[in-house]
């Protein structure tokens, strides 16, 4: 069953005098439970595509359905609600909230977005932290964690809302090689355990092999999608 269906998706950024075609007529279907990587050089349109799928931006033209919802027509508020219920995000720079502990960072979307009761929140947060191996560091502040640990907390934060889809934009770009592998394996493990679709972008050729499906973008065009080595 398709979780994401994109048809002729285009995105054009217009500056004062220049028009940049970030995506051109991109179409694809992504099955639920996929572990998929968008690869390509810088400027190929990876981040733009993830932003569209993540309802952070709207296409200039084309159709896009995520989890059965036509996300192109969503208002700003509807898009925020949709993200909060259906999509988890993992960022290149981890983007943990500096004033909150690891536990509180993971808890944040349950408090501010899903508004769960404290007991249920605590249960879910502890499960998520345990799943990413960060239970012992739950009371540490982000500044006390290494890059890999921060990204584990970020993964736990993305998973804790039990989303249908997790989007990760260059999740390993700020990590060393070994840690990058570990994070990718962790993401795949989470996919296996929770059945969540993982889509990530990368231009790091060392970790591309971890993806089960690899889609290549170049100059805003989707060249191909093929089975990876993962």
């Amino acid at each position: 069953m398709s979780l994401i269906v994109a048809k002729s998706l285009s995105k054009t950024y217009a500056t004062d005098s220049v028009e940049v075609k970030a995506l051109q007529e991109v179409s694809f279907d992504i099955e639920a439970g996929s572990f998929l990587a968008f690869i390509g050089p810088s400027g190929s349109g990876k981040t733009t595509l993830l932003n569209l799928v993540g309802c952070l931006d709207k296409p200039t033209s084309g159709e896009l359905q995520v989890a059965g919802m036509d996300v192109v027509t969503l208002s700003r508020r509807q898009a925020a609600e949709f993200r909060g219920q259906n999509i988890g995000f993992i960022f290149q720079s981890f983007n943990l909230i500096a004033v909150l502990t690891a536990f509180e960072n993971v808890e944040y979307p349950l408090v501010m977005v899903q508004e769960l009761r404290p007991a249920e929140r605590r249960d879910r947060v502890l499960k998520a932290l345990k799943a990413v191996g960060m239970l012992e560091q739950k009371n540490q502040m982000p500044e006390q964690l290494s890059g890999g640990q921060k990204q584990r907390v970020a993964i736990a934060r993305a998973l804790v809302t039990q989303p249908k889809l997790v989007l990760a934009d260059e999740p390993t770009a700020n990590l060393d090689h070994e840690t990058a592998y570990m994070i990718l394996r962790l993401m795949k493990q989470m996919r296996d355990n929770f059945g969540i679709t993982f889509i990530f972008s990368t231009h790091d050729t060392r970790i591309i092999g971890e993806a089960e499906i690899v889609c290549t973008l170049e100059d805003g065009k989707l060249l191909r999608c093929e089975a990876g080595n993962g």
Binding site: R77, N95, L100, P109
Partner: protein
């Protein structure tokens, strides 16, 4: 909401120095306002009490038109003998009234047998006068400081007049006056005391016994020029005045057109304008406090938004609704204002307590060595605190609104 407070407080702790600076600025503003209000209010209250308790009274009752022509002290505008018992009955029935005193006022010639000048004579019943004006006795600088100073045949002479004429306690002087029928009469008096002016150099008011005044003016009935009233609580003087008016059956027409007039001290004394000026100064000091709070909170919240653009992008991306981002920043502003107000109030009350303990003295009129005893009404404290908190939230609105309107995709790109 509790979690929003928790995150807001942690964000404030993140920038400890900046938050501390903002809080101390707000606290200093609150402290300054509270101390200013306490000191000026206590001085103002003292001055008003000095005026009302030593010569003016809280209220005065006259026949209609008397106050308008008070400079000529018109005897034909005295309250009629028949009206006085009715007024006294009304005053006796109002619990908020502590005392009252009837006066006959008239212009006269004052002579020490070698020189003559004009004087304003107040004929009073000493017990009633001193009960209605408890600080009047303290104005007697020489002579008897008791009701005996105004026994029949005795006179309290205003200080400047006594100095000019070389009159001393124990001297005999003459008062000559014309009554309302045009006949002239005089009476000798023993100077029983020298009376200081309540508000500084000046004043030509001499005091004699009520019956002596009636004798000089050859009054058959008990005519009264004015009735001076002391109230139990000065801040409620307007309400008491209204009760008196109602008790006397004074409608709008009677009040304006004749009959009886009831005036509060503020309608009779130019010092009311000074009191109003103090209130206006206090108002502008409060405006300054608002400006301090507004600018400091606005500044710190704008900086907070600009420094946390990526963070705002992150929380927006994971689905935080704009109104929650808005409330997050509003709560930060609220917490800054609340903390500043609490610190300012605590320190302010401490300073006010310190001023009371240190017993600073000041002078007013003839009164010297008066001890400054600043007090502040709880309502003033609550008002200042609420004002600071409300302004803090208002000042946070623009930055908070800006944060809530940020597009997550733009905010996440921010470096």
């Amino acid at each position: 909401m509790g979690n929003i407070f928790k995150i807001a407080l942690r964000n404030l702790r993140r920038y400890k120095r900046r938050s501390a600076l903002t809080i101390s600025l707000i606290a200093f503003g609150v402290l300054f306002v509270l101390v200013f209000v306490a000191v000026t209010a206590s001085i103002k209250d003292f001055m008003i009490a000095q005026i009302t308790d030593s010569y003016l009274g809280a209220l005065q009752i006259h026949r209609g038109g008397y106050v308008a022509s008070i400079e000529s002290l018109p005897l034909n505008l005295n309250l009629a003998p028949a009206a006085v018992p009715q007024i006294e009955k009304t005053l006796a029935g109002i619990r908020e009234i502590e005392a009252y005193s009837e006066r006959i006022k008239f212009g006269a010639l004052f002579s020490n047998f070698t020189e003559t000048t004009n004087i304003r004579i107040n004929g009073v019943y000493p017990e009633k006068e001193f009960a209605a004006l408890p600080q009047m006795l303290s104005r007697i600088s020489e002579g008897e400081k008791s009701v005996r100073a105004l026994e029949k045949g005795k006179m309290l002479v205003p200080k400047l007049l006594a100095q000019g004429f070389g009159a001393k306690v124990g001297d005999t002087v003459v008062v000559v006056a014309t009554n309302k029928d045009g006949s002239v009469n005089g009476k000798t008096f023993l100077v029983s005391g020298i009376l200081e002016s309540a508000t500084g150099p000046g004043g030509r008011d001499g005091y004699i016994h009520f019956d002596d005044a009636r004798e000089i003016l050859r009054m058959s009935g008990k005519e009264v020029s004015e009735i001076v009233v002391r109230v139990k609580s000065l801040p409620q003087v307007e309400e008491v005045a209204q009760s008196v008016r109602v008790g006397l059956g004074l409608g709008e027409k009677k009040q304006k057109g004749g009959g009886i007039e009831v005036h509060t001290w503020s309608q009779l004394s130019p010092f009311a304008n000074i009191a109003n000026m103090i209130d206006i100064m206090t108002f502008f000091i409060k405006l300054m406090l608002i400006a301090i709070v507004l600018i400091s909170i606005l500044n710190v919240m704008i900086m907070a938004v600009y420094e946390r653009v990526r963070e705002i992008g992150t929380i927006a991306a994971i689905g935080t609704l704009p109104r929650k981002i808005l409330s997050l920043f509003l709560v930060e502003g609220f917490c800054l204002g609340l903390t500043g107000a609490v610190v300012g109030v605590l320190v302010g009350l401490g300073v006010i307590l310190g001023l009371n303990i240190s017993k600073i003295t000041f002078n007013f009129g003839q009164a010297t060595g008066l001890i400054l005893a600043p007090t502040i009404a709880p309502l003033e404290v609550v008002t200042a605190s609420l004002m600071v908190i409300v302004v803090s939230v208002l000042a946070s609105l623009q930055p908070a609104f800006k944060a809530s309107r940020m597009e997550p995709i733009d905010a996440l790109r921010h470096v």
